[in-house]
C-alpha cells in the first residue's frame, strides 16, 4: 500500500494538533517538532529513491479510483521539493529555537509551523486541482497566523494587506476552478489533461488558463509582487526565512505543474505571456533590489528576481531549461532562507535596518560575515556553489529555444543581485566598526548552527550536482512528457 505518500502532509498536521495539547511544555514541543521533521525528511528521501526504481507512485484516498476520488501523486519533481521544504523548515526552526522568544512559542508557534509545512507538502503532492486549493488554504491560514504572531504594530498593519490580497487571489483560484469544471466536468489534473488533449485547447480553455496564471502570479510574486516586500519584512526573522524559502516556491511549483501538465497546447499564447511576465519581473525586481537601503526590502526584492529567473525556465520549456528551473528552485529555497536569516540577524545585532547605519560587522562576527559573502556568490551563480548549475542549465535552454532576450535579462539580473548584495556587504561588513567588543550581542550557537547547515547544503547542491542529476533529470522529463504522469495516474 502506498499510504506512505500521505505522511509528509499528514504527519505535520497530526503533530501540530498534538502540540496544541502540549502548550505549556515548550521543550517537549521543540523535541517533537524536530523528530517529526526528521521523520518527514527520511520518508521523502525514501520516496525519492522509490520513484527512481518504480516510477511515479500514487495514492487514491478512500480507495476511490481516479478520476473520481482525490489522490496524491508523488513524482520526482514533487518529492524533491517536499524534501527541500522539510529540510528548510527544520533548519529555520533551529534558528527559531534561540531567537523567536518564549512569548511567541507559547502562542502555538510550533503547531502553526507544522500546519504551514503540511500545506506546503500537500500542495506539492496533490493530484487534484480542488485539493490543491484546499492545501493552499491550509498553508495560507497558517501563514496568516505566523505573520502576525507577536502582535507588533507593523505586523498587524502588513498582515491585513497580506491576508486581503491572498483572499482575493484565492477567490480567483475558485473562479478558475469553476470555469474549468464547467467545461470539462473533472478536477483530477491528469484527467483534465487527457480531456484537453482530446478536445483541443479551445480559446475558452486558454482564457481559463490565464485566470489560473493570474492566481499563481499573485501567489508566487510574478510581476504581481506589490504585496511581497512589505509582508516579508514584518514577521520575526525565522518566520520571514520560512516564508522567503517556501511560500513563493509553492506558487512557482503549481505554475510549472499546471502549465506543463494541463495547458501546454498553446505555448505561443500562455508561455509567451509567462515569458513576458518573467522578463518584467526580472527588470522590476532588479530595480527594486538596488533602489532601497532597508536591508529587508533588498532581500525581499531578491526573492522576486529569483521568481522571474525560475519562470524563464518554464517559459522556454526545454529539457535543459526545466532541469535548470528545478535545480534553481532547490537552490533558491535554501539560499533565500539563509539570506533572510542573515539579514534578520544583522538587524538583531545592530538594531538598525538601513545599511548606511551599520558598518564593520566583520570585525565582530567574522564567520557570519563570510557566510554572507558565500550566499551572495551562490545567489549570483558563482561555481562551485548551488546557484551555478541552475543558471547554466536555464541559460542553455534559453539559447536552444532562441529566446535571447530572456537569456540576457536573466544574466543581467544576476549582476544586479550581486551588486545589491555586494552593496550590503561593503556597507555593513567593511568600514569602521560601530559596535564595541564590550557591548556586542553574542552570536548564539543555534544561529551559527543553522547558518552552517544552510551553507553546507549550498555546497552540497553545488559540488554534488552529479549526484542529484538523475532525480532532476527525471523530474524535468516527467514535466516535459505529461503522458508519463497521466499513465501513472489513470493507468
Amino acid at each position: 500500500m502506498n499510504n506512505i505518500i500521505v505522511l509528509p502532509m499528514a504527519l505535520p498536521i497530526m503533530l501540530g494538533i498534538i502540540l496544541i495539547f502540549l502548550r505549556p511544555y515548550i521543550k517537549t514541543q521543540r523535541v517533537l517538532t524536530v523528530l517529526g521533521l526528521l521523520v518527514t525528511i527520511g520518508i521523502s528521501i525514501y520516496m525519492l529513491q522509490w520513484i527512481q526504481t518504480d516510477g511515479i507512485i500514487r495514492l487514491d484516498f478512500g480507495g476511490w479510483e481516479p478520476p473520481f476520488g482525490i489522490l496524491f501523486v508523488a513524482d520526482s519533481f514533487a518529492v524533491i521539493l517536499v524534501t527541500a521544504a522539510s529540510i528548510v523548515t527544520l533548519i529555520c526552526l533551529i534558528y527559531a529555537f534561540s531567537s523567536i522568544g518564549e512569548k511567541i512559542e507559547y502562542m502555538y508557534f510550533y503547531s502553526f509551523v507544522n500546519f504551514l509545512l503540511a500545506g506546503v507538502n500537500g500542495s506539492f503532492l496533490t493530484g487534484d486541482i480542488f485539493n490543491l486549493y484546499v492545501n493552499f488554504e491550509i498553508m495560507l491560514l497558517a501563514s496568516y497566523v505566523l505573520i502576525v504572531l507577536g502582535g507588533k504594530r507593523m505586523q498587524l498593519r502588513e498582515s491585513l494587506k497580506y491576508v486581503v490580497i491572498n483572499i482575493i487571489s484565492s477567490w480567483f483560484f475558485l473562479v478558475a476552478i469553476a470555469y474549468l469544471y464547467a467545461q470539462l466536468g473533472t478536477l483530477n489534473m491528469a484527467h483534465i489533461s487527457v480531456l484537453i488533449s482530446e478536445s483541443g485547447q479551445t480559446p475558452l480553455l486558454t482564457v481559463t488558463s490565464l485566470v489560473f496564471l493570474i492566481v499563481f502570479a499573485l501567489k508566487s510574486g510574478l510581476l504581481l509582487y506589490f504585496w511581497l516586500p512589505g509582508s516579508y519584512s514584518a514577521p520575526p526573522t525565522a518566520v520571514a526565512a520560512l516564508f522567503g524559502g517556501l511560500l513563493t516556491k509553492v506558487g512557482i511549483y503549481v505554475m510549472i505543474r499546471v502549465f506543463t501538465l494541463i495547458f501546454y497546447h498553446e505555448p505561443q499564447i500562455t508561455h509567451t505571456i509567462i515569458g513576458i511576465l518573467a522578463g518584467l519581473t526580472l527588470i522590476m525586481g532588479s530595480i527594486g533590489a538596488i533602489a532601497y537601503k532597508d536591508i529587508r526590502q533588498i532581500v525581499a526584492y531578491n526573492v522576486i528576481i529569483a521568481v522571474g529567473f525560475i519562470l524563464v525556465g518554464l517559459a522556454v520549456m526545454t529539457q535543459e531549461a526545466l532541469e535548470g528551473a528545478v535545480y534553481y528552485l532547490m537552490h533558491d529555497m535554501v539560499a533565500k532562507s539563509l539570506l533572510f536569516l542573515l539579514a534578520g540577524t544583522m538587524i538583531t545585532v545592530t538594531g538598525e535596518k538601513r545599511l548606511d547605519n551599520m558598518s564593520g560587522l566583520i570585525r565582530n562576527y567574522p564567520v557570519f560575515g563570510w557566510m554572507f559573502f558565500i550566499v551572495m556568490l551562490s545567489l549570483a551563480g558563482v561555481p562551485p556553489l548551488s546557484g551555478f548549475i541552475g543558471k547554466v542549465l536555464v541559460g542553455q535552454g534559453a539559447v536552444e529555444a532562441g529566446s535571447y532576450i530572456l537569456l540576457a535579462l536573466g544574466f543581467i539580473s544576476s549582476i544586479f543581485v550581486l551588486y545589491s548584495l555586494l552593496r550590503v556587504f561593503l556597507n555593513s561588513f567593511w568600514g569602521e566598526t560601530i559596535i564595541s567588543f564590550d557591548d556586542e550581542v553574542p552570536m548564539k550557537k543555534g544561529w551559527m548552527v543553522s547558518f552552517g547547515l544552510f551553507t553546507a547544503l549550498m555546497f552540497t547542491f553545488g559540488l554534488g550536482a552529479e549526484y542529484f542529476a538523475p532525480f532532476v533529470a527525471d523530474a524535468a522529463n516527467t514535466l516535459l512528457n505529461p503522458q508519463i504522469y497521466i499513465d501513472a495516474v489513470l493507468e
Binding site: 500500500m1 502506498n2 499510504n3 499528514a10 497530526m14 494538533i17 498534538i18 484516498f61 478512500g62 480507495g63
Partner: protein
C-alpha cells in the same frame, strides 16, 4: 453588562434543549440524508451562543469548564486520526467502512467509521466557533 430579560431567559431554557436535540439528530442523520458533522457542530454552537446571550461569560465558563481551543484540537485530532487507522488495516488513507449493528431500543442501525470522523468535525466546529465568539466578546 446586566441583562434583565425574563422572556428571553425563559425561552432559552427550553430552546437550548430543542437546539441540542436537533444537533444530535442532524449529526446522526448525516451520511445517508441531509445533515452531518459540520451542521451539527454549528447547531451545537448556536445553542452555546444563545446561552452566552442570556447569561454572561463567567457563568458559562463555570457551567461548561472546557477550554474550547482544546475541544477544537481534539476534534481535529479525531478527524485526522481516523485517517491514520488506514495504516493499521493496510487500506488506502481515509478509507471508510460500515456495518449494521443491533442496538437495544433503537433496533438495527448503521454505524460507519465516517461517524467518528464526523464527530471530530463537530467538535472542531464547536470549538472554533466558541473560541472566536469568546475572543471577540471578551473585552467589549
Amino acid at each position: 453588562m446586566k441583562i434583565n430579560n425574563v422572556i428571553l431567559r425563559t425561552v432559552t431554557k427550553l430552546a437550548v434543549f430543542i437546539i441540542l436535540t436537533l444537533a444530535v439528530y442532524l449529526f446522526f442523520a448525516g451520511h445517508n440524508s441531509p445533515g452531518g458533522g459540520f451542521i451539527a457542530g454549528l447547531a451545537l454552537s448556536a445553542a452555546f451562543v444563545l446561552l452566552l446571550l442570556v447569561t454572561d461569560i463567567e457563568t458559562i465558563k463555570k457551567g461548561i469548564p472546557l477550554d474550547f481551543k482544546k475541544v477544537a484540537a481534539f476534534g481535529a485530532f479525531l478527524a485526522v486520526g481516523t485517517g491514520f487507522g488506514a495504516f493499521v488495516f493496510d487500506v488506502p488513507f481515509l478509507t471508510q467502512s460500515f456495518g449494521n449493528f443491533v442496538v437495544p431500543f433503537f433496533g438495527e442501525i448503521e454505524l460507519s467509521t465516517v461517524t467518528i470522523f464526523e464527530a471530530g468535525v463537530s467538535f472542531a466546529v464547536v470549538g472554533v466557533v466558541i473560541t472566536i465568539i469568546l475572543s471577540i466578546s471578551e473585552d467589549v
